[in-house]
Symmetry: C2
Subunit: 448 residues, 2 copies
């Protein structure tokens, strides 16, 4: 298997297993459908960009309890031998419908719908929510950066401050899907084939007697890949030294690709540095900016028309700092042929297996989504596809650039006001689904 996640079947909440023991004991093995969706978008989001499906599908395929896992569960003195036997042979045999990665979506639309024997669908809950949550949160934040950068390349610098090492891989993958062009994360490069890139650190410059020596040594070592960090001591003097070094390197046929600014008033500095570079005859040397960037700071730089050519974006994208989690819920919507739901003040869960139908206006821009039952045949493109049946993948993992292309098309299809966060579209609910909701509520109220 190609899964790069170190998935353990024990990475679940204890109650998934205790509940499942009851299901197994009582032979409650009929198909259950769980729907993963966001009831309300986070405050600063007007759309979400789906990511994380393929890592999830691979994890579902690999999902096994090892002998060691079972020994630990036995040691808890909670579980019956018959249930531990059930876990020993556990395989995920269910069906997965989902929005393809790179699809833009809104409130109430299922990102994933899983139908499987009740304990199977229950036991994978923690896994399903977790993987979709991190990748979708980060892909969305990264998409906002890409939109703000307005064509300038964005590079993932998030690895050092993502929430754990594994999260850095999710972030590299999700940001690439969202339109980033490269990552500094070497392992992500190896695993996903994302272009890897980087410049140099302040510590590098500080380790040398002076900036010139540091810059020269780097240029000689990496003649094709030299971006000089010029703000270790004084950015404008750093720029002058970079120019001096660029001259000396050019005598050896080495061309400096760029300079990086990581602090200070980058708008003013970029203008000044550009002027110096141009004056010195280096109009081709790019200016790369990093340091605490997010979509707002990028938009500010872009709208200032500062001569910034590319952005290195780290922490705030990597942890989706202003919305570090989504309110993703994995809700039972059908069991044993009957629609199910939780009654809760102010929170509506629509029962049944579903489909999302997307409509476009005549110019090809997104117009609205209608949420209906899966069997309905409403106007619009049905967005949810079946990816897995009987626990088997129905297709190959698509190459990441293909997913990235889909994301770009989806983002491009958004009207300006949604792209820029000025409007969050509501999802229309089909008549049949509203009727099913009312019927189900009534049925439940009767037995209360």
């Amino acid at each position: 298997m190609s899964s790069w996640l170190n998935v353990s079947a024990l990475l679940t909440d204890l109650y998934e297993l205790t509940m499942s023991q009851v299901y197994v004991e009582r032979d409650m093995l009929a198909p259950a459908t769980f729907s993963l969706f966001v009831r309300k978008l986070p405050q600063n989001r007007s759309f979400l960009l789906a990511a994380g499906l393929w890592p999830l599908l691979e994890a579902l395929q690999d999902f096994r309890f090892s002998e060691e896992d079972l020994a630990y569960l036995e040691s808890l003195k909670l579980f019956k031998p018959t249930f531990l036997d059930y876990l020993k042979n556990f395989r995920f045999t269910g069906e997965v419908w989902a929005l393809p990665e790179g699809t833009v979506f809104f409130e109430n639309a299922p990102v994933v719908e899983i139908t499987a024997p009740l304990p199977e669908a229950q036991i994978v809950e923690t896994l399903v929510i977790n993987i979709l949550n991190i990748e979708t949160a980060v892909a969305t934040k990264a998409a906002l950066c890409v939109i703000a950068a307005d064509g300038r390349p964005c590079v993932d610098f998030g690895a050092r401050r993502t929430q754990g090492l594994e999260a850095s891989l999710h972030a590299a993958r999700a940001s690439y899907i969202a339109g980033f062009t490269a990552t500094s994360n070497v392992l992500a490069g190896k695993l996903f084939g994302i272009p890897v890139t980087g410049t140099m650190a302040h510590s590098y410059v500080e380790s040398f007697p002076n900036e010139e020596e540091a810059f020269l040594a780097f240029g000689r070592n990496f003649p094709e890949n030299t971006v000089l960090l010029i703000d270790t001591y004084d950015p404008l003097r750093g720029a002058e030294k970079a120019i001096e070094v660029a001259r000396r390197l050019s005598e050896r046929g080495i061309r400096v690709r760029g300079v990086r600014l990581d602090s200070g008033n980058v708008i003013e500095l970029a203008r000044e540095v550009r002027r110096l570079l141009d004056k010195a005859g280096f109009p081709e040397i790019k200016i790369f900016v990093s340091g605490g960037l997010d979509e707002h700071k990028i938009a500010e730089i872009v709208s200032s028309r500062a001569p910034v050519d590319a952005f290195g974006i780290g922490t705030k994208m990597g942890v989706s700092a202003d919305a570090p989690y989504l309110d993703l819920a994995y809700k039972l919507v059908e069991y044993d042929g009957k629609p199910r739901l939780k009654l809760s003040e102010g929170k509506v869960t629509y029962p049944g297996r579903k489909q999302v139908f997307r409509r476009f206006d005549p110019s090809g821009l997104f117009y609205e989504d209608e949420l209906g039952l899966r069997e309905e045949n409403l106007i619009g493109n049905p967005l949810l596809k079946c990816f897995m049946r009987d626990g088997r993948l129905l297709m190959e993992n698509p190459p990441l650039p293909e997913i990235r292309k889909k994301a770009a098309e989806n983002l491009k299809s958004l009207p300006e006001d949604i792209r820029k966060g000025q409007r969050t579209p509501s999802t229309r609910i089909s008549e049949k689904l509203r009727a099913l909701y009312s019927e189900t509520v009534e049925r439940i109220r009767k037995v209360l």
Copy 2:
């Protein structure tokens, strides 16, 4: 090795490797000291609780480039054969000084100081920042919850919405260190020996024809561990059904441990449910509350004197939602016997190897920290200890309950205003350190 992190040496930023090629080529292998510290605490934090050191130490011990890693690096056509050879034999041979896990700390205090041959200290940068960042951020958030809960047990329910699966393990570990009593994360239970616990989900209740059947089946399966979720349809009717079931189960000698409220106005509901339980003769049945909790919501519940006995705390703790990252920097402070620093507007990095001296007032409460050079002998307890020398651990990984005890003592030693976030103490800087800073700045300015 006991490391539970799936560490790959490639999980690093590309520039760590490109810079190191230059170091190796130029024989810049003298010892470098890097200091990991927070320049400024996040907005909503008045202290930080150190966590993540042991996972880091184990990862440093395991740090190797595999044949596959080297083949990938070669394929990038960036690196020279001599450098790839260097990586092939790479071991971390350095020295690690650090604050023991469970130590409270403030701005400018090094959490970790690493001294190693320059490329070694550089290559591990991403790893060092990443692990300390996530565990310290979460441990601090969890500590705030524990303080707010004022003696009531707090349980980690974070697994489903942490940023990746690995992050859920960091969160379970860090929150246990901070004083949580248990986790729902089964793998964390297995790996760290943390008690595991859980209740039941709404989906469980919905899968049965009615709540009574759901409750009864659970009680019979888990006679020692039944906490009934009562708000699937209507919390007060749910409480009545729980009472009915508790009566029937008690006839079989089974005692329901508690009920859980996961939504609604939990303060009012808890009062009402307590009244119902007491009236029915079940004063021993506990009320457990969950759902969107953080330190503020917990403080509100506690100060209302609502009869809530324990808290299940998930997402907001697990991602440290209001401060999802720390501004942890890993800065070169000495190389080849010379103090180093970056000159930057408004940002001071103190050069040299350091020690933090902690002082207490006569009542035993924290009074102040003074940051000095490691060789200084200032008044107060020196906080940084040497954990690793020549790449070898100098001691055994302490049992987690011991770290947890240290954290409890540290938190208890904080004056009320710091514990409650009303004051953030500044760290005093020793005279010698200030002098060294000025000298170093002057020395650098001369060569600029």
